[in-house]
Structures are given as structure tokens and as C-alpha cells.
Symmetry: none
Subunit: 399 residues, 2 copies
């Protein structure tokens, strides 16, 4: 898809806004039979949906629950199955670690092992973040030949390990056996060039076990999701647009940076994100604006909280429309149904508004209404070509 | 798709008619909220839609605006992304130049350059066609070693360059830098075997500049879309049908010839096209009938003109039905919404009528109605297998 559209891209002065509501989609609450979107009062989104082309986005494949990384890559027009980003890299982005080309990053868990080295708790009883911070400081004493070692706390039992040096490879197997009663696995090289990196990581794990022997329940580490920064086509080059990301959470800023967007400084609230949008309106062609509250409430299983988050979002829609974008898109990176209290595999409502969108008969921004819309149920990475077309930024294909 | 169905094809005596309305799809006019199809009175198409399976065709990919070439290849069952035809070849077809296997064709523009050879107008102020004719005659004086040179006027500033000779290659870069203030680019070979052809073309451009030095504003040429006749699977062989094309415009006759259809002699009106259809009814199994007026009005941004063109078309539908085809298909090669005054990316309404089509609940032949039809929104090149199935010309796959 990217290869197909790249030679067709033309420049103009149109403005495009993509509003991404994290974990947007939901499911009906059994008591009422209505989803979060069907329960919330969202007059502004309903009006917008009435003037827009609506549909559902499937970010990865039927039945596959997307993480926020693949979810957003899909929204940006990248097929997330083709462009895979390891968890180690995503976790590094999430703490705004300055990951560089060639670094190998892994997601780490503190875990508990018994006297024989067998795992008894894969998450070390979910130690508090302050314990995590203390123990990662201890692990920073580890020295490995020829590489720099970074150990960064994340949250609770989670940390990030980064090795920086020449000729490293992220093609490594994981140490987490995914079951209790077994010792951590040694890391294996998944390609010949990864042998040296595997040896370094195994030395790190041995040293970590030694340094943590008295730190039960967090007396060992598990490492997985080894990867290096992927080579992704750069969004501004693919689409020929000056692109800006406005997001209060580090993970989403990191994803936007990964595809080459400018990450704008903004405050911690959606209100300040919208203010940032207005302040930089002239300087960019494309704006990705991220709203986190919907996902947070969904993850907490807080149906009413998600309804309230949707209503708060709706109140901001007029401020975005007042900027008079040429193309306005509202969608999300994945579903987070409150009844699941976690990400879901359900396709995600999307609306695309422009002068040329060809409004359909959908008059509400809900899962069921969007399922009848003229966009149909489409792969998320097909949305950006439609956005570009509606901005009249694509030449025709063939004569 | 073609590989899948080819071994399943069987012969019978059914008759199939594909009516292609060029630029069929439209968009609502802001004042009424109704598209051209929704505005036109089309009782015959409405009756046919009520008895047919309806849907929308997407010819290339979401958001991609098809040219007429890829649009019709899709209707004929060829994936237009896999079977790409260069602009030089399409332009040659459009003037019915007798392009032969091995010829290299390019689309030419007369342009204006300043005293330093820098482009100041990529279209030479859109000179009149009569100037174009005179200047192409001048360029015909150019002789190149070992090849024949053809320079054919098209319209306004556009012409076609064809080189005929042994061992030529169309894998050449373009001379148009696509910006003002720079000189035309030299042609580069995009494969080693194209080196000699690149040298010939560069000599042509140098000579053209010399011959046109006093012909301002048309004092230079730009060349692009170099290509040779593609090797396309032949329609009559793939589908096992005697296939005829009835089209008043050269471009569509050329496309049909490119896939091996017989091109029938016909008059310049749709009325005469329909008469031609009746006259050759017994001699063919499959008829492609092209209607141009819808596209012309759309390109002109003439909403009412397009509505009138649709109504004129509708009046001819009973004459086609009176021939009692076994399968009757009505669709188009791309949208040409009047509000865009050009081709559009919107999927195109399609109806497929046969005794076995399984009519859906669609009762109007419009964009919105067809979006709810039983065909769904499908790639255009999936239509022909459905047509063949409805003609009972495909065996089952597997035992």
C-alpha cells in the first residue's frame, strides 16, 4: 500500500487532523445491552458522523487483539503485520529512553526463583515501582565487554534492558519459559550474527541472579521481546506532509517519533493537547492527536468512567472543528471494552469527514452504527490512503 | 484470480453484456445532499437493480483514484496493480496508433524553457492542438540510427513519441523534473539493457530542442511514461469466450484490443453502439459496451449534464434487455464526481443481473443503495469471476 501511494503523492495546503481515542471501541454492558459509545451523550460526534463516511477499522487481523504499538502503526498507514516492532523497543519508547539505531532493547521482569533456581512467581509478586527503581540501580553495576548497559525501571516488576555497542543483534530467544517450576531459559541466537549478543545477555542474566540473590521476592530477572529500532518508512516522506504528534503519554510520542513525526511539547491534559493543536496549526499539514482516558477507564473495567471519558472528549470536538481542518478523522488504536477490562479484538469505529467524503446514512458514532457505514470494515492501514484522497493529495493511478 | 479460474472455464451458449458507464460514481451536491445518480430519473436501472445483486467496485485500492486504463482492466478481471500499463502506451491507444510489440512509447508535452534551458511552463501555455500538429510535423525530421521514429499529436500540448526497432527497452526514467526553474532531466536507463534506448531518446530530446528553438512558447519537450506493450493474458483465452468491444472512443477500443477482444466498428453515439450490439449478437459470447457521456460531464464539473447523461443511458437499457442476455452487468471504470470535476477514488456502483444472481434488497442504482447490496464492496477484478459463475461458465473447484 505504501509503495502504491508514494509515487502518487502531491502537495497542497490542506490540513488533516487524526484524533485517536485510545481503546475507543467497547462492548454492551449486559444490564442495558448498550456499549460505552451507545451510552455516552456525544452530540458533537453524532453530528460529525452524520456528515462523515463511517466504518470500522481492523488493525491486525480478525480475532487479533492489537497492542497500542501495532494499533497506532495501522492508523498511520503501516501494515502492522509487515512492520513489527519488538516489545523491548516499545517499552523503551514508553519510558522515553533515547533508543538509538543498533541498540538492542528487551523487556525485563523481576521474578522469584526458589533455591534450585526454579521460577515460583513470574512477576515477583508485582513489587512496587519504588522497589523496581532500587533493584534496577543495583543491576546497573553489571559491566559487559565492549558494550554499554542500560537498566531502566518501568513500573512495578517491569524494567527495560538496553545494550549499546557495535554489531549487536536483536534476533534472540526469550528467557521466560512462561511456566512456573522451571528455571529461566538461556538466551539463544536466532541468527548466526546474534551469537555474541546472546553470550552478552546470558552473562547479564547470570550477573543479575548473583546481584539479586538476597532480594526475594525479586531475586531473578526474565527477559523477552529483544529487538532493535526498526527501519520504518518515514511518515513525512511517504505522505509528503509536515506531520506533528500531540500526545501526553510517552509511548505514543515514541511511536510518532519512530515514524518520523515531529513530537510537539504539550501539557498532561487533553485540553492542553487541543491548545497545542491550535498553536501549531500553521506549521504542519497533518496532526495526530492522542486521547488516553478512554483506554484507561476501559482497562480498569470502569464502564461509567469510560462513558464519562467519551463525553469529555466529545465536548472538545467543536474546538477542533473550529480550526476548519480539510479532513477530520476520529478513530482509535484498538478496542478496550470495559467488560473485558483490557484490550479487545473488536474492530474500532472510525469516521472520516471532508468535503468529498460522501456521507452515508450513519448518524451516531457507535460500533453498531459504524458497522453499516460506507467505509465498511477495513484494515486500519487502508485509512491513510482514504485520508490522503480526501485531502486531494493523491494523483490518479494510470492514465 | 485469473490463474484460479482459467482451468475451471467451460463453454456454453450464454450471452453476457457488460455496460461500462465511464466515470459512473459521483458525490452529493452540497445544496441537495443527493448525488448525480440519486438525482437522475432512472426507472429502467432501478427496475434492473431491484432484480439484481448490487455492490460497489474498488478498482485499484482504497483512496486510489483510477485512470481509465486501470479502471477498465479491473472490469475485465485483471488486477490493475499487477498488470500496469505505462502512460505512453495508453496515450498511443488513445489516438489509435498502431503500437506493435517491442515499440517504446512515451507521452510527450511541449514545454517552455528560458534562454538558460530552464523550464518556465511545463505545458507551453497549453498551446492549441493545431500548433501541436505543426510542431510534431517539425519533429518528424529527426532521424535516429537503427530505429524508426514516430511523433504523433494528441491534443493541446500533448504528443506521443514512439521508437520502433530491435532490442529497445521501455525501462527509462522521465525527463520531466515536475518543477519549474530546472532544465529537463536526461533520460536514464532503469535496467542495463535500456542503455542504448536511453541514448537514442536523449539524442531525440537534443534534436527536438534544436528544431524548436524559435517555437516559443513550445520550444522544448518533456517525455514521460515510457513503456512497451504489456504481455496481458488474452481475455478470449482466459474466459473461453468470443469477446467483442463496442466503444466510440479510441482509448477504450485500444484497451479492449490490448486484452484481445474484437473491436467492432460502430458510430459515434451510444444509440449506434446499441445498434452494433444487436447486429453482432449471434457472433459473440461477451460484449463490452462503453458509454462516455457520464465521464465527460463529470470532468466538466457539470452536475446537471451528468444527470442528463445518466437519464439518456437509462432510456437505452430496455433495448439491451430486449436482446435477452443471460448475464447483464452495469458498472463503470471509476467515479467522476461533478463536485471534483475529475476522476475520484470513491468505489463505483455495480449491478449484476442473471437468473442466478440472488437479488438483494437494493431497489435503486445509486452509490448509497449499492453500498448495502449483497456483492459488498469488492475489488473490481473480482467481478468477472462472478459474471462467469452467473453465466454457468465455471466448473466447481475441487471435487
Amino acid at each position: 500500500m505504501l509503495d502504491l501511494i508514494r509515487p502518487l503523492v502531491v502537495s497542497n495546503t490542506t490540513k488533516i487532523v487524526l484524533l485517536s481515542l485510545d481503546g475507543l471501541g467497547g462492548l454492551p454492558r449486559p444490564e442495558t445491552g448498550r456499549s460505552e459509545l451507545e451510552t455516552a451523550g456525544m452530540p458533537n460526534l453524532a453530528a460529525l458522523a452524520s456528515e462523515a463516511a463511517c466504518g470500522l477499522l481492523r488493525h491486525v487481523a480478525p480475532g487479533i487483539t492489537p497492542g497500542s504499538g501495532p494499533g497506532h502503526l495501522g492508523l498511520f498507514g503501516y501494515d502492522p503485520v509487515r512492520f513489527q516492532v519488538g516489545r523491548g523497543v516499545l517499552e523503551s519508547l514508553g519510558i522515553e529512553f533515547d533508543l538509538r539505531a543498533g541498540d538492542v532493547a528487551a523487556r525485563g521482569n523481576f521474578c522469584t526463583v526458589d533455591a534450585q533456581g526454579r521460577i515460583t512467581d513470574r512477576r515477583a509478586g508485582r513489587i512496587g515501582t519504588e522497589v523496581c527503581v532500587r533493584l534496577t540501580e543495583r543491576l546497573r553495576a553489571i559491566r559487559l565487554p565492549g558494550v554499554e548497559v542500560f537498566v531502566e525501571p518501568v513500573k512495578e516488576h517491569r524494567f527495560v534492558l538496553v545494550l549499546r555497542g557495535p554489531r549487536l543483534s536483536g534476533r534472540l530467544s526469550e528467557t521466560d519459559p512462561q511456566v512456573l517450576g522451571k528455571p529461566p531459559l538461556p538466551v539463544r541466537a536466532l541468527e548466526p550474527a546474534a551469537g555474541a549478543t546472546a553470550d552478552l545477555v546470558n552473562r547479564f542474566v547470570t550477573e543479575a541472579g548473583r546481584l539479586l540473590h538476597d532480594a526475594a521476592p525479586a531475586n531473578m530477572v526474565l527477559l523477552r521481546g529483544f529487538d532493535q529500532l526498526p527501519e520504518l518508512p518515514r511518515f513525512p516522506e511517504v505522505y509528503g506532509m509536515r506531520a506533528a504528534a500531540i500526545a501526553a503519554y510517552p509511548m505514543y510520542r515514541g511511536l510518532a517519533k519512530l515514524v518520523g513525526m515531529d513530537v510537539l511539547k504539550t501539557g498532561g491534559t487533553f485540553e492542553s493537547e487541543i491548545a497545542t493543536l491550535g498553536e501549531h496549526w500553521e506549521a504542519y499539514d497533518f496532526f495526530f492527536v492522542h486521547y488516553k482516558d478512554t483506554d484507561k477507564a476501559g482497562e480498569d473495567g470502569d464502564f461509567d468512567g469510560k462513558v464519562a471519558a467519551l463525553e469529555r472528549f466529545d465536548a472538545h470536538v467543536p474546538k477542533v472543528r473550529a480550526l476548519r481542518p480539510d479532513v477530520l478523522v476520529v478513530s482509535g488504536d484498538h478496542a478496550t471494552p470495559s467488560v473485558l477490562a483490557g484490550h479487545g479484538w473488536q474492530p474500532v469505529p472510525a469516521l472520516l469527514w471532508s468535503r468529498y467524503c460522501g456521507a452515508d446514512s450513519v448518524t451516531a458514532f457507535t460500533e453498531r452504527a459504524c458497522a453499516t457505514g460506507s467505509l465498511g470494515t477495513i484494515p486500519a492501514h487502508h485509512l491513510m490512503p482514504l485520508v490522503m484522497a480526501n485531502a486531494q493529495r493523491l494523483m490518479k493511478f494510470g492514465a
